[in-house]
């Protein structure tokens, strides 16, 4: 730390853990472990604010700089302290799925340390190598595998040092919990701390990019891993239970002030006037800051900023054209809108055989249309950040899941040299993609520079629910053909996705503040969208997805971003509901029908996805106690109807099958998912309990999106603004029983090189279809539009005369 700035306690702790005589930064600096980069060019007008010439607080000093730790140096990743404990510097973030703990387990295993002999520091751009932060469920699959190689290399070097010190060849040594001993004379030992404690390895690594980084040591066979596979309690939990953990919302700096945004009341509105007099006399008022259509109020105290933002009188001009259709007309609009040229993206298309011909000659043709609305993140804690502009640098305290792009994005936005910007990730409310385009950090940094003081921003609830990034809406049309024996001969999938100008990761021109200030990306994303991911063998098929756009593409509360398993729940809802429709048309049991489609293929795919798909479908059916019969079952005459449904999918290399058992109350329309079974194959499991927790969260979040969640809007604004207008799953809806079955369906389950595959999101995607299929089983009524709130369920049951 430089310039004598205050270090929040948690960070002080993190630094203290390092326990050396110099700071982490000095350690990296003196060892030449920083990589010096080039300056950025400002989006928001480089140099316009003249920042960097006048330090804002304290004595003037050289502007701080935060170069990148060099990932090709072992010392950037790992430090062994005098007491033999280690600190791992990990360029990821942990949203509460336990990736930090799991990474620690994996690295300790390779280094032969006990779990408690190490610590993990995550997501600080000045201290941890740039592994991109979180996203794509890759923390364990990809990044922690790099960590294993690094730790293995450190162990190799330490063994060589011991060999020299003890005069014994490496083969004659063994290690346990950081103590190296002679195999022949276990009393002769030397510890890691004695060998290197606090010193540098000075070992260069190789690799064309950070994900390929490696030393010369090889990682251990799975059979030799002791901590991997154990349900070690997560290190972050005690501090979350006793309030000792310092979160990004908790950081307080001397002289800091509070800001609140004032959003346009109508999408696409233009600011015409601000009446500052409306707030000037309020206690604690400091300033109204505005540029373009971005408006914020800054006050001394938080509640003062909230009140001032409410009271500020702003005149807005409505746009000439409606920005988007009302949510009630959304799907008609999407089906009739023009497709965006170039949209769809890789992975969206599939073409084989002659689907039209096969449909024309099929014995039975089934057609169905599925509609999935926009889903919000609606994080439990609204977006927030604190920015400190002191001493010519900018430090942002944030829960941004991608601190590295946050840093470069903010540097570009403000026209600062990225080396003068530092992003410190700290715990925060759920990420799930929301904080990959974390608007609040940009706002805090902009305001801090304007004010020359540390500024803390937090969004209000109405703002978060209405204006956060959205998971895109889908309108999906399917046609399928069966032959006379009930085999699927053709499948035609056509999806439309409202995903134009999908925001990137913390891009200086797509975050909300930049849009409101009038910046536009040079090339807006045309809008990608995958189809359902499954391994079914269907000889003739077509699958394509195209994006549609609304009149208003920017400054819109319907701007799309990544939401947990982007596209997965929506497309799998359509795909796996439709497979169920085909099974019903064929009079087949839904599990049997799927297994037949999976077994029909002969080739296997990367990571044995087909074999592992079969394994999870079978395991789910067995764990549930599935009795083979076609759906629907016998529809009872009672008030509450029960049924069960299955859905299966893969995501990347993880395969999942989910079975839902539902109760449908035909008088109230309430659906309760009473029981859920999830069979899950993500290869090597690092921490079963933590993985189970993640899967449970995915399942319940899936239930919430299926039964309740929908972003509602009229022709001019989003009307989902709080927990009443945007309901979510509650304690009342929680299943009575959730069974998670970890499957290892690898053809060679004991392979020593078994890898972990991403597990953060995959189990989310089959949930909506499993529930809809269960409702069909219970009632014989097919639900094709989400969400399934009681009103809609009653309406659909009513149409069917139930």
């Amino acid at each position: 730390m430089s310039g004598g700035r205050q270090v929040p306690t948690a960070l002080g702790d993190a630094l203290a853990r390092w326990g050396g005589t110099t700071s982490r930064r000095d350690f990296l600096k003196t060892s030449g472990l920083f990589v010096f980069g080039v300056s950025g060019v400002g989006v928001a007008g480089a140099g316009r604010w003249g920042f960097g010439t006048e330090p804002s607080g304290g004595e003037s000093s050289e502007p701080a700089s935060y170069p990148d730790p060099d990932f090709l140096q072992l010392d950037s990743w790992l430090v062994v302290h005098e007491d033999g404990t280690a600190t791992f510097y990990v360029g990821k973030t942990d949203g509460g799925q336990g990736t930090g703990t799991a990474t620690q387990q994996m690295m300790c295993d390779e280094l032969d340390l006990a779990f408690d002999q190490a610590r993990v520091v995550m997501g600080r751009t000045d201290m941890t190598v740039d592994q991109g932060g979180s996203g794509g469920s890759d923390a364990i699959e990809r990044d922690a595998m790099v960590g294993r190689r690094i730790a293995a290399e450190a162990r190799r070097v330490l063994l060589e040092m011991a060999s020299e010190r003890l005069g014994v060849p490496v083969e004659g040594l063994s290690v346990s919990e950081g103590v190296i001993s002679l195999r022949d004379d276990p009393a002769r030992t030397v510890t890691y701390g004695e060998l290197i404690g606090g010193g540098r390895f000075d070992v260069a690594l190789t690799g064309g990019n950070i994900n390929a980084t490696t030393g010369v040591a090889s990682i251990k066979p799975v059979q030799d891993l002791k901590l991997v596979g154990q349900s070690i309690p997560r290190y972050d939990i005690p501090g979350k239970v006793d309030a000792s953990l310092e979160w990004a919302v908790d950081v307080r700096l001397p002289g800091m002030v509070h800001a609140r945004n004032v959003r346009p009341p109508f999408a696409g509105a233009t600011l015409s006037a601000i009446d500052e007099l409306s707030v000037r006399d309020l206690p604690g008022f400091i300033r109204v800051v505005s540029e373009g259509n971005y408006v914020a109020v800054v006050c001394e105290r938080e509640e003062q900023a909230i009140e001032a933002a409410e009271r500020l009188v702003v005149e807005w001009e409505k746009p000439a054209t409606a920005p988007f259709p009302a949510s009630d007309d959304l799907f008609d609009y999407m089906r009739s809108a023009e497709r965006v040229p170039g949209s769809g993206g890789r992975g969206a298309a599939r073409a084989q055989g002659d689907p039209d011909g096969a449909l024309a000659s099929a014995a039975t043709v089934v057609e169905a249309a599925y509609d999935i609305p926009f889903h919000g993140h609606t994080a439990i804690g609204p977006a927030h950040a604190l920015a400190d502009p002191s001493d010519g640098q900018m430090t942002i305290y944030t829960n941004d899941m991608k601190p590295y792009s946050h840093r470069t994005g903010i540097a570009e936005f403000l026209g600062m040299d990225p080396e003068q910007v530092r992003v410190i990730w700290m715990d925060g409310p759920q990420l799930y993609g929301r904080t990959a385009a974390d608007d609040a950090g940009f706002e805090a940094a902009y305001l801090a520079r304007e004010l020359g003081r540390p500024v803390r921003v937090q969004w209000m609830r109405h703002e978060e629910t209405a204006w956060d990034t959205k998971g895109p809406a889908f309108a999906i049309d399917l046609r399928g053909g069966l032959d006379a024996d009930g085999n699927v001969v053709a499948l035609d999938y056509r999806g439309r996705i409202a995903n134009y100008a999908h925001v990137g990761y913390n891009q200086a021109r797509t975050v909300l503040i930049a849009q409101l200030m009038g910046f536009r990306p040079e090339r807006p994303s045309p809008g990608g969208g995958r189809g359902p991911d499954e391994m079914y063998y269907i000889p003739n098929r077509r699958q394509e997805t195209r994006a549609v756009r609304f009149p208003l593409a920017f400054e819109t509360p319907l701007r799309t971003g990544n939401l947990r398993d982007p596209n997965g729940p929506q497309t799998t809802f359509a795909g796996e509901s439709f497979i169920d429709e085909l099974a019903a048309a064929a009079g087949a049991d839904p599990v049997e029908f799927r297994l037949r489609l999976l077994r029909g293929a002969t080739d296997d795919d990367e990571a044995f996805r087909r074999a592992r798909s079969i394994a999870v479908v079978e395991a789910a059916a067995e764990a549930y106690g599935w009795d083979a019969r076609p759906s629907p079952g016998t529809v009872g005459s009672g008030r509450v109807l029960t049924g069960r449904g299955i859905a299966y999918a893969y995501r990347a290399r993880t395969t999942i099958a989910v079975i839902a058992e539902v109760e449908v109350n035909r008088e109230t329309g309430r659906v309760w998912v009473r029981r859920m079974v999830c069979a899950h194959d993500c290869g090597l499991v690092i921490n079963p309990n933590s993985l189970e927790s993640t899967i449970q969260g995915n399942l319940l979040h899936g239930i919430s999106r299926t039964l309740y969640e929908e972003v509602r809007f009229d022709g001019e604004k989003v009307t989902s603004v709080d927990w009443r207008t945007h309901p979510t799953l509650t304690h009342m809806d929680t299943p009575e029983q959730i069974d998670v079955v970890m499957v290892n369906g690898d053809p060679n389950p004991d392979r020593p090189d078994l890898r972990p595959y991403g597990a953060g999101e995959p189990s989310h995607r089959p949930v909506p279809a499993a529930i809809a299929n269960a409702i069909y089983d219970a009632t014989g009524v097919r639900m094709r539009r989400l969400p399934l709130r009681p009103e809609r369920v009653l309406e659909e049951l009513g149409y069917a005369g139930l």
């Binding site: 979350k240 000792s244 908790d250 105290r301 509640e303 979510t728 509650t730």
Partner: protein, 158 residues
């Protein structure tokens, strides 16, 4: 501004704040507490929960002038340096994911168990229902409430 006296976690604080200030901001910004957090400001979610005279209340819309009872925040829940059985159960069941909501979950559970020491599954669902979790840790929360109830019953027997 005016003088306000608050009793928080067994200590008395005298503060010079606007009496209409919601308790939440005083606890967080003046007393430096981290347990109660802002979630909605509308009394809809529960992240700002504190105990007042043993009852779980929402501090986001409670004026500090009407916060005259004995306030306990998550920080003040342990007794004699030992975690409250609910907190211990939360660790044993590995409940939190992000953890942002867990202040409200833990304090609501502690209040629930103080007046209903042996709640049925339905009583747990109903008693906890107004505390939202967007990581959807409800299933583990409900198990942890049961575990805490058992631990507290055992503690009484001893």
């Amino acid at each position: 501004m005016s003088e306000i006296t608050l009793r928080v976690n067994g200590e008395t604080h005298t503060l010079d704040v606007d009496p209409s200030t919601p308790l939440l901001y005083v606890l967080r910004n003046d007393l430096g507490l981290r347990g109660p957090r802002f979630g909605c400001g509308l009394a809809q979610c529960g992240t700002c929960t504190v105990l007042m005279d043993g009852r779980a209340i929402r501090s986001c819309n409670r004026p500090v002038s009407r916060s005259t009872g004995e306030i306990t925040t998550l920080e003040g829940l342990p007794e004699n340096g030992e975690l409250h059985p609910v907190q211990q159960a939360w660790i044993d069941e590995q409940v939190p994911q992000c953890g942002y909501c867990q202040n409200g979950q833990i304090l609501t559970a502690a209040a629930l168990l103080s007046y209903s020491p042996n709640p049925s599954d339905d009583e747990i669902r109903e008693g906890m229902n107004r505390v939202l979790c967007r990581c959807m840790t409800y299933y583990r929360i409900q198990s942890a409430v049961k575990r805490a109830a058992e631990a507290m019953a055992e503690g009484e027997d001893r």
